[in-house]
C-alpha cells in the first residue's frame, strides 16, 4: 500500500453561510487525463509547463457551432479569428473543417496565405492596414473590411495604382444595447457615418462592395445584443439594395461569443451563465430572417467566433514549485506557469485542478506564477486542496488568446502539444531555447 499523503494540520475559521454537512459537498474536480492520455505521461514527455490542445474538442466545438447556425439559417460561413490562436496546426484544423481566415494585420494575412488559405477566403479586418498590406490583400482578392475613411482613401489610391478591383466591406459600430459601445472601430451606424461610407464606396470605381461587418464587443453575455446588431445591419443591407439596386453578399457579425470561462468578479460560473451557440444562433438568425430582406436574397452570414470556439480545447499543465504561508496566514502556492503564458488570467478566474486524487479538504489559497514580478498571480483566491511540491496541476480553458498574447519574459515559452483524433501527440510549437531567442539579436562590436 502506498504511503498516505501527509497533510499539515490547519485551523480555519467557520464562516456562516457555508453549507453544513447536509449541503453540497465541495467535491474537488480532478483532471487526470486529456483525451484519454494521463497528464503525468504528457508531462514526462513534454516537460512542465506545457500547453496541450485537444483536436477532438476543437472539432466537436466547431461542429456544435456549425449545427447551431446551419440548422437555423440557410447560408453560414465561419472565419477563423487568427489572433485568438494562430498556431499553424490549430488554424489548419479550422480550415479543414471549412473555416475561412479572419486576419487583422499584414503578418496574419501572410500567415493565412502560408497556411494555404485561398486569398478570396480571407477576411482582412483591423484598424491598421499599410499600403503594402492592402496591395497583398488586393492581389489575393481578399475581402477587405474598411475601418475608417483614411483607410478608404488609401485603398482607393492603391487600387488605382494597381489598376485592380478590390472586394470590400465596411466595419460598422453600433449601439446594440450593451456597455461599453465599441465605437473606436469602424463607421458609426446611428450618426450616419456608415451610410456615408457606403455611398462613397458604392460610387468608387475600383471597389466592389460585398458585405457589412460589425463586432459589438467581446465576451458578450446577452444573445439579444446580436439580434439588435443583426437588425441594424439588415437595415443597411436593404437600404443599399433600394438605393443602388445592389445585393450585398454577406453580413458579418464578427465574434465576441463568451466562452465558458468565468470573468473576474462574476457571481456565477461562466459555464452556467454564458449563452450557448444555440442561443446566439437563434437570436441572430431570427433577426435577419424576420427583417425586410426577402428570403431568396438572404445574405451569407459570416461569424468570426474565436474565443468560444477554441478556449475549451486548450490546457496548461503545470507543476507546484513551493507552498508558503503569507504573513496573514493565507496559504499560497507557487507554480511554474505565470501570467507571461496566461494572459487570460488577468480577466478570468481560470480553473486550476489537481491531476491526482486529493483529500476532500480545501482551503482558500492564492496561486502565484514563477516570475520575479509582483503581478504574477494566477488566482488570488481559490479553494484548493493541499498539494505538495512536484504535484502536477491542470489549468483548463486556456485555448484562446494565451498562445498569441503570451510573452517571452524571464523564462522560455514551453512546448505546445496537440492530441490528434487518434490520441497521438505532436509538438506543434517547440519550447524556446537560448539559441532561438538570440538568433534575432545583434551585438555591435566595440
Amino acid at each position: 500500500m502506498e504511503k498516505l499523503k501527509y497533510e499539515k494540520p490547519v485551523i480555519s475559521k467557520i464562516t456562516a453561510g457555508v453549507p453544513n454537512k447536509f449541503g453540497l459537498s465541495a467535491k474537488q474536480k480532478i483532471i487526470s487525463e486529456i483525451d484519454g492520455i494521463p497528464v503525468s505521461k504528457l508531462m514526462d514527455e513534454y516537460g512542465s509547463p506545457a500547453f496541450i490542445i485537444s483536436e477532438k474538442t476543437i472539432r466537436d466545438t466547431y461542429a456544435e457551432a456549425k449545427r447551431a447556425f446551419e440548422t437555423r439559417y440557410p447560408k453560414v460561413q465561419f472565419a477563423w479569428s487568427y489572433k485568438t490562436n494562430y498556431l499553424d496546426a490549430v488554424c489548419s484544423i479550422f480550415h479543414d473543417e471549412g473555416s475561412w481566415a479572419e486576419v487583422v494585420s499584414g503578418f496574419e494575412l501572410e500567415k493565412a496565405l502560408s497556411n494555404g488559405v485561398n486569398g478570396s477566403n480571407i477576411i482582412f479586418n483591423g484598424p491598421e492596414k499599410s499600403e503594402e498590406d492592402l496591395t497583398l490583400a488586393i492581389n489575393h482578392n481578399a475581402c477587405i473590411h474598411i475601418d475608417h475613411f483614411d483607410e478608404l482613401y488609401l485603398l482607393i489610391e492603391t487600387t488605382r495604382k494597381l489598376n485592380k478591383k478590390a472586394r470590400v466591406a465596411i466595419r460598422v459600430n453600433l449601439d446594440a444595447g450593451i456597455y461599453p459601445i465599441w465605437d473606436r472601430f469602424g463607421f458609426n451606424y446611428e450618426n450616419g457615418e456608415a451610410w456615408n461610407a457606403i455611398n462613397r464606396i458604392m460610387l468608387a470605381e475600383n471597389l466592389e462592395m460585398i458585405g457589412l461587418h460589425t463586432h459589438i464587443g467581446t465576451y458578450i453575455m446577452v444573445a439579444s445584443a446580436y439580434a439588435i446588431a443583426a437588425t441594424k445591419l439588415s437595415n443597411l443591407y436593404m437600404a443599399i439594395h433600394r438605393k443602388f439596386d445592389h445585393w450585398l453578399k454577406y453580413i458579418d457579425l464578427g465574434g465576441g461569443f463568451a466562452s465558458k470561462n468565468t470573468l473576474k468578479g462574476a457571481y456565477m460560473p461562466g459555464s452556467e451563465t454564458c449563452p450557448t451557440f444555440d442561443e446566439y444562433a437563434e437570436a441572430i438568425s431570427n433577426a435577419i430572417i424576420s427583417s425586410e430582406i426577402p428570403h431568396e436574397n438572404l445574405p451569407v452570414l459570416f461569424l468570426e467566433t474565436g474565443r468560444a470556439m477554441v478556449d475549451d480545447s486548450g490546457y496548461l499543465l503545470t507543476t507546484v514549485i513551493a507552498n508558503k504561508r503569507s504573513t496573514l496566514g493565507r496559504r499560497t502556492m507557487v507554480i511554474d506557469a505565470g501570467v507571461n503564458l496566461l494572459f487570460t488570467s488577468f480577466w478570468y478566474n481560470l480553473g486550476v485542478y489537481p491531476s491526482k486524487e486529493v483529500s476532500s479538504h480545501v482551503e482558500e489559497s492564492t496561486i502565484y506564477g514563477p516570475l520575479c514580478m509582483n503581478i504574477d498571480v494566477i488566482r488570488d483566491a481559490i479553494n484548493f486542496p493541499s498539494s505538495k511540491v512536484g504535484d502536477q496541476l491542470v489549468i483548463e480553458r486556456v485555448g484562446a488568446y494565451n498562445m498569441t498574447q503570451w510573452m517571452q519574459f524571464i523564462t522560455f515559452r514551453p512546448n505546445v502539444v496537440l492530441i490528434d483524433l487518434e490520441g497521438k501527440t505532436h509538438i506543434i510549437r517547440k519550447k524556446e531555447n537560448l539559441d532561438s531567442l538570440q538568433s534575432f539579436e545583434m551585438n555591435p562590436k566595440r
Partner: protein, 740 residues
C-alpha cells in the same frame, strides 16, 4: 405573307412524312418504301398521292400549324382515304375527282378530331379516315360513273404489267417458299394497311419497319402473334382474305401502345399481350354490325382500344412509374426509350414540382418510406426528420426536455411555392415520451403546390405556425417551427406529399426535387429521389455565378473557338471560330444551335439544375462535346461533390451493337453510358472565383468499361466556358464566350 411560305424541303418532308406517319414514324426511308408499295397499284398510288397533296395544300393555304404540317399529321389520314378510294374503283378522271373530294372531307375531319381529342391530350389516330372511307363506301353504289375495281382478282396480270416476267417469277418464288400461314397472314396484314393484297407489299413494309425501328418491327410481330394465338385458342374461324383487311388492327395497336405513345418497356409489352384479345373481340363484333351495311370496320378496333387505353391512363391519380406517356415525342420508339431510360428523373414533365427539403441545415431521416413505426399502409410515403450530432444523438443532456432536442424550435420551411389550405396551430406540445392520439398529426400545415400535389408538415411547435389558410407562400419561406405535438413522443418533423388537401390524407409516392446526401463528409447531389432512413440530407445552396452562366437566354450568341490536336481528319475539321445561337421552339424548349453545322442541343433549366435533354446533329460537332460535358450540372455551391447520370446510349453507341440493342431494348439494356460530374472548385460560398469541374464519360457493354472520355470544364466570372476533352491521343479545346 412572307412567313407563310414553305421551303422546298418542308414541302417534301410534309409529303414523305404523311406516308411514314401511318406507322407513327418520320423516317424518310420508310416513306420511300411505302410510296413504292402504294404504286404497286397505280390507281391507289395516284389516289394516295393526290389526297396527300390536297390535304397538305389545304393545311398550308388555310394557315394551319406548319410544324404539324411538315411532320405529316395533316396528310396521313387523307393518304389512307386516297389509297382506299383509289383501290375501290378503276382509275379514271372521275375517280381522282372523288379522291380529291374525299381528301377535303377527310382533312376537315382531321382538324375537327384534332381539336376535340386534342383537348383530352389524345391523338386523333385514323378516326378521320374511318369516317371518310365509310362515307365514300356507302355512297359508292350510287356512283355509277365509277367502275368497281376488279383488281386483286387477277394478281398476275397486274404484276406483269408492273414489272414484267421477272417480277412475276419473283412473286411466284415468294408465294411458293413462304408457306407458313402465320407468316403469310402477317405479310398480308401489313400490306393491307396500304390496301395491298399481296405478300410482296407486306414483305417490303416489314423490311421498311425493320430498318426504321427494331422495336416497331418486334411489336408488329408480337401484336400479330398474340392475335393469331388468340384466334386459335378460342377457335375463331378465319380465312386469310377476310382476315387480312382487319389484321393490321392488331399490328397497329401493338405499335401504338407498345412503343409509340408510351415509353416502350416490359410493362408496355405486357399490356400489348393483355389488350390484343380485346381488340380481337371488338373486331369480330364490329364486323357483325358493319356487315349489315356492307362495310368493313377497317381500323375501328385499333382506334377504339388505343384511345380508350390512353385516355384511361391519363386519369391516373398516382404519378405513373410504368406506362409512362412519351414525354417528348422523338418519332422513334428507340429514341424515346433511350432518352427516357437515361434517367426518368430528367424529365420535369413527370414531376410538375421540384420540392426542396423543408428545413435549414443537415437533418437525419429517422423514419423513411415504409417505416417501422408509423409510416405504414396508406401513410407509408412519409419522412420523419431529426437533427443529430456527430455521434448520432438527437439531444444534449438527458433528453428529458424539449429544449434538449436539437431539432426543437428549428424553422420549418415550405418545400415549394403554393397556397396554404390547412394550418393548425393550437395543439400543445407533448411532454417527452407522451403521445397525443386524439389529434395525432398535431400542429400541421398543408400546402397546395399543384393539382393533386400537396405537402404536409406535422408535429409543429405549439403556436409556432406563421401562415394562415389562403396565404400564398414561396419556396423556402418559414411556415412554423419543429415541435412535439400530436402523435410524437419526442420532437421531430413529419413531412409527406399527398394528393388531397386534408390533415389526415393518405400519402403519395413523390420525390424531393433535389437534395444533398452526406456520405462520409462528402456530398452527392440527388435529383428527384426518395431519401432513405438514416441518411443525412441538406438543401444545396445556389451559386450565383453558375446560375448566371447556365442561364442560356434565347437570342444569346456564343462565340466558340475550337482547337484540336489530333491525327484524325474528322476531329481536325472542327477547329475554327464560329457562333452558337440560343433559340426556343414552338414547344417552348430552349436549344443551342450551331451556325456552322446546324447541330441542336436541347436543354432544360429548372432553377436548381441545368440539363441537356437531347442532341441532334453530327457526333463530331463541338456542340456535341458541349452537350456531353454539361449533360447535367447542378447550380448549387458545393466543392468536392459529384453528380451522376447516364447519357442516352444512342448518343454514344452506333452500328451493329446499337442495332442489336434496339431489338431487346424494352427488356434489357446492355449498352450504357455513365456520366459523372465532379465539382472540384465551386468558387466558394460567395460565388467568387472560377468554377472547376470534370466530367468523366464511360461507355460500358454489359457493365464492362470499353472507353472513357475525360472532359475538364472551367467557368469564370464572365460566364466563359473553357472545356478540354481528352481521348485516344485527341485533345479538343473549346472556348465559349458571350458574343456581345
Amino acid at each position: 405573307m412572307k412567313n407563310n411560305t414553305l421551303s422546298y424541303k418542308q414541302i417534301l418532308s410534309s409529303i414523305l412524312n404523311s406516308y411514314s406517319q401511318v406507322f407513327f414514324s418520320s423516317s424518310k426511308l420508310l416513306a420511300a418504301f411505302l410510296i413504292l408499295i402504294s404504286f404497286f397499284d397505280y390507281g391507289a398510288g395516284m389516289g394516295g398521292l393526290i389526297a396527300v397533296l390536297i390535304a397538305n395544300s389545304l393545311a398550308w393555304v388555310l394557315g394551319y400549324n406548319k410544324y404539324l404540317l411538315s411532320s405529316g399529321l395533316y396528310g396521313f389520314n387523307a393518304l389512307l382515304v386516297g389509297l382506299g378510294v383509289g383501290i375501290l374503283f378503276e382509275p379514271s378522271m372521275q375517280l381522282f375527282l372523288l379522291v380529291a373530294i374525299s381528301a377535303i372531307i377527310c382533312f376537315f375531319l382531321t382538324i375537327v378530331f384534332q381539336g376535340v381529342l386534342g383537348k383530352y391530350g389524345l391523338p386523333f389516330l385514323s378516326v378521320p379516315f374511318l369516317i371518310t372511307i365509310w362515307i365514300v363506301e356507302l355512297s359508292g353504289v350510287n356512283l355509277t360513273a365509277l367502275n368497281i375495281s376488279e383488281r386483286g382478282i387477277f394478281v398476275y396480270n397486274e404484276l406483269y404489267a408492273l414489272g414484267g416476267q421477272h417480277f412475276v417469277d419473283f412473286y411466284d418464288f415468294l408465294e411458293n417458299n413462304i408457306t407458313s400461314s402465320f407468316l403469310r397472314i402477317y405479310f398480308h396484314s401489313l400490306g393491307a394497311i396500304f390496301f395491298q393484297a399481296h405478300l410482296l407489299a407486306g414483305i417490303v413494309i416489314s423490311l421498311g419497319l425493320l430498318i426504321y425501328s427494331r422495336i416497331t418491327f418486334v411489336l408488329s410481330f408480337l401484336g400479330f402473334s398474340v392475335a393469331y394465338l388468340f384466334y386459335n385458342i378460342v377457335g375463331i374461324e378465319f380465312d386469310s382474305l377476310g382476315y387480312t383487311f382487319i389484321g393490321f388492327n392488331y399490328i397497329l395497336t401493338a405499335i401504338a401502345i407498345g412503343g409509340y405513345f408510351l415509353v416502350p418497356g416490359r410493362v408496355t409489352f405486357g399490356w400489348v399481350i393483355v389488350l390484343l384479345p380485346t381488340v380481337v373481340l371488338i373486331t369480330i363484333s364490329t364486323q357483325q354490325i358493319f356487315l349489315m351495311f356492307k362495310l368493313s370496320p377497317y381500323s375501328l378496333p385499333f382506334n377504339m382500344v388505343v384511345l380508350m387505353f390512353l385516355y384511361a391512363l391519363k386519369l391516373r391519380e398516382q404519378r405513373p412509374k410504368h406506362l409512362v406517356e412519351t414525354p417528348v415525342q422523338l418519332g422513334k420508339p428507340e429514341k424515346n426509350l433511350y432518352l427516357h431510360s437515361g434517367n426518368t428523373k430528367r424529365f420535369p414533365s413527370a414531376y410538375p414540382i421540384s420540392a426542396s427539403l423543408p428545413f435549414y441545415g443537415e437533418w437525419t431521416i429517422n423514419q423513411g418510406h415504409n417505416g417501422e413505426h408509423t409510416h405504414k399502409g396508406a401513410w407509408r410515403h412519409a419522412w420523419d426528420f431529426v437533427i443529430t450530432d456527430r455521434n448520432g444523438k438527437q439531444f444534449k443532456g438527458s433528453g428529458d426536455f424539449h429544449e434538449d432536442y436539437f431539432c426543437f424550435g428549428k424553422a420549418v420551411l415550405a418545400s415549394f411555392e403554393g397556397t396554404v389550405v390547412e394550418a393548425i396551430n393550437d395543439i400543445p406540445d407533448n411532454i417527452i415520451g407522451d403521445i397525443n392520439t386524439k389529434n395525432n398529426w398535431g400542429n400541421s400545415v398543408v400546402i397546395k403546390h399543384a393539382e393533386y400535389i400537396y405537402s404536409k408538415v406535422s408535429h409543429l411547435k405549439y403556436h409556432s405556425v406563421e401562415v394562415k389558410v389562403g396565404d400564398i407562400i414561396k419556396q423556402g419561406q418559414i411556415v412554423g417551427r419543429c415541435g412535439n405535438s400530436g402523435r410524437s413522443p419526442y420532437p421531430h418533423l413529419h413531412f409527406q406529399f399527398q394528393a388531397t388537401p386534408y390533415i389526415g390524407s393518405t400519402t403519395i409516392d413523390y420525390p424531393f426535387g433535389h437534395f444533398l446526401l452526406k456520405e462520409e463528409n462528402k456530398y452527392s447531389l440527388k435529383t428527384f429521389e426518395i431519401p432513405q432512413k438514416d441518411q443525412i440530407v441538406a438543401n444545396p445552396s445556389k451559386n450565383e455565378m453558375l446560375k448566371n452562366a447556365l442561364h442560356f437566354i434565347p437570342g444569346q450568341r456564343l462565340k466558340v473557338t475550337v482547337e484540336v490536336e489530333s491525327d484524325k481528319d474528322k476531329w481536325q475539321k472542327q477547329a475554327g471560330t464560329f457562333t452558337w445561337l440560343v433559340e426556343t421552339d414552338v414547344f417552348n424548349t430552349t436549344y443551342i444551335r450551331c451556325e456552322k453545322d446546324g447541330a441542336l442541343a436541347y436543354l432544360h433549366n429548372n432553377g436548381d439544375l441545368h440539363y441537356f435533354t437531347n442532341f441532334i446533329g453530327a457526333k463530331n460537332s463541338a456542340l456535341y462535346w458541349f452537350f456531353i460535358t454539361l449533360f447535367k450540372v447542378p447550380i448549387g455551391f458545393l466543392p468536392n461533390s459529384k453528380i451522376s447520370d447516364s447519357i442516352q446510349l444512342n448518343m454514344m453507341f452506333g452500328g451493329v451493337l446499337k442495332f442489336l440493342q434496339d431489338f431487346i431494348s424494352p427488356i434489357y439494356l446492355f449498352l450504357k453510358v455513365d456520366y459523372n460530374l465532379n465539382i472540384k472548385d465551386a468558387g466558394g460560398i460567395l460565388s467568387s472565383g472560377d468554377i472547376e469541374m470534370s466530367a468523366l464519360i464511360t461507355k460500358k457493354i454489359i457493365g464492362r468499361k470499353v472507353k472513357e472520355f475525360n472532359c475538364e470544364l472551367k467557368i469564370n466570372q464572365q460566364a466563359e466556358f473553357d472545356i478540354t476533352i481528352n481521348f485516344d491521343q485527341t485533345n479538343i479545346k473549346i472556348l465559349c464566350q458571350n458574343e456581345l
